[in-house]
């Protein structure tokens, strides 16, 4: 009944989900999981604190993406940043490009202010939909960065070619910049232009890092187990190929 050529993919996904599920269960039962420090996340407190000292706003954008996984990771961090902004009374400006992402982002910010006990601090005009056009979005964001002279610019989510435009504009005004994306073609531009870069997969660890949330810590342990399994698979596969057997490759192509 499985669709041809997707048999292995299905079982691989099944195994991934099972590993993550079991790890979350174990963590909830009290298994200790330590997370290694991620400099980009540690810098977020400093970035918001600096804005508070300077009396200037913080800017956050989840990027150009629709509702894709990196955007989810960005929104998770946004919830935390909003909490900090509410605590320190810092103005937080959020810019969004895609309508469906906007619908969710606005809700996340609204809810985070509510949770922080300051629902009145939420201002719709500071959570802005710019345009779904890539370059209009870029020009709108650099306009905001340059005019509002933000103290800290945080960009975590899905980014395309506009990444460097945003990062250079942030650099021009001397903002502390923290950026993260999984797109390997855009990470280089964040690496050269930002102060802190959250590399690829690290961005999915936000919940575990900030809230030390058991679900997230467990999920992270599950991800690590999957990575270990992938490494094992690659090594065994390569050794088999060296020995002249492509059995594993054939199984994976099923």
């Amino acid at each position: 009944m499985l669709v041809a050529k997707r048999v292995f993919d299905f079982w691989a996904l099944f195994a991934c989900c099972a590993l993550i599920g079991v790890s979350i269960y174990n963590a909830a039962k009290g298994m200790k999981v330590q997370i290694r420090p991620i400099a980009g996340f540690e810098a977020i407190d400093e970035a918001v604190g600096r804005a508070a000292e300077m009396g200037k706003p913080v800017h956050f954008t989840p990027g150009f993406g629709g509702l894709v996984a990196p955007t989810f990771a960005g929104l998770e961090v946004l919830g935390y940043i909003t909490g900090l902004a509410a605590k320190y009374d810092v103005r937080l400006i959020v810019t969004v490009s895609q309508p469906e992402t906007y619908a969710v982002t606005e809700q996340v910010v609204r809810q985070a202010y509510l949770t922080a006990g300051k629902p009145e601090a939420f201002k719709p005009e500071d959570c802005r939909f710019i345009s779904s056009d890539q370059w209009a979005y870029a020009s709108g964001v650099i306009g905001i960065l340059l005019r509002d002279k933000v103290a800290s610019n945080i960009m975590i989510g899905q980014f395309a070619a506009e990444s460097l435009i945003l990062a250079e504009a942030g650099n021009t005004i001397g903002a502390i910049q923290i950026a993260g994306t999984t797109n390997a073609y855009q990470i280089p531009f964040f690496v050269v232009a930002c102060d802190y870069v959250i590399l690829g997969d690290e961005m999915f660890a936000a919940g575990a890092h900030f809230a030390k949330n058991k679900v997230h810590l467990g999920s992270l342990r599950g991800e690590d187990l999957i990575k270990a399994l992938c490494l094992l698979l690659v090594i065994v596969g390569a050794l088999l190929v060296c020995g002249g057997s492509d059995t594993l490759l054939k199984i994976m192509a099923l």
Binding site: R36, L67, P99, A103, D133, A136
Partner: protein, 198 residues
Amino acid sequence: MRISTDIGAWVGALSALAIYSVLYKENPVYRLVENIFVGASAGIAVVVGVQTFQSTAWVPMAKGNTWLVVPMVLGVLLYARYTPSVSYLNRIPLSFLLGTSAGVAMRGAIESQIVGQLSATMINLNSFDALVIFLGTVTSLAYFFLTYRFSGRAAVVSMWGRYFMMAAFGAAFGNTVMGRVSAAIGRFQFIFLKWLGM
């Protein structure tokens, strides 16, 4: 030099110059062009959106696909957020959007990004090049262990992982320059050749 009399050439060239002025300093001219551009592009998005709505929802529903009432109701519920007493209803369409998006993300990730990439790495390690690809993949993947910390000798693995990633980032950076410069050449040709007629 023969300056163009075509209004399109004038609008295009002047807007490009206004945009380039931001390289010197943020200024009123840039700000005006930016706002016109953002307004126009958001307007275009709305026009396209209405057209999509007509062709994917309104017309099929008029032709008898009554099920399409469901997404329309969901869509309307998004606006519940503006009325505090019923704002929680807004969670229903959001959970619908997020649930489907998560499903799509999950199935795409496993196939092309994990299984495809892993099988491409299972190569015969009989050449220097093959070894470089293999070691690069293994060490950079190992860098991403987030709940284990490599210490002592094992730390070398994640260090090499970072080195390989930096090499890849440098390469991607250098390789992108050409496309970006091409874009600028296009604008410059427009300004000097089409508009100023040089």
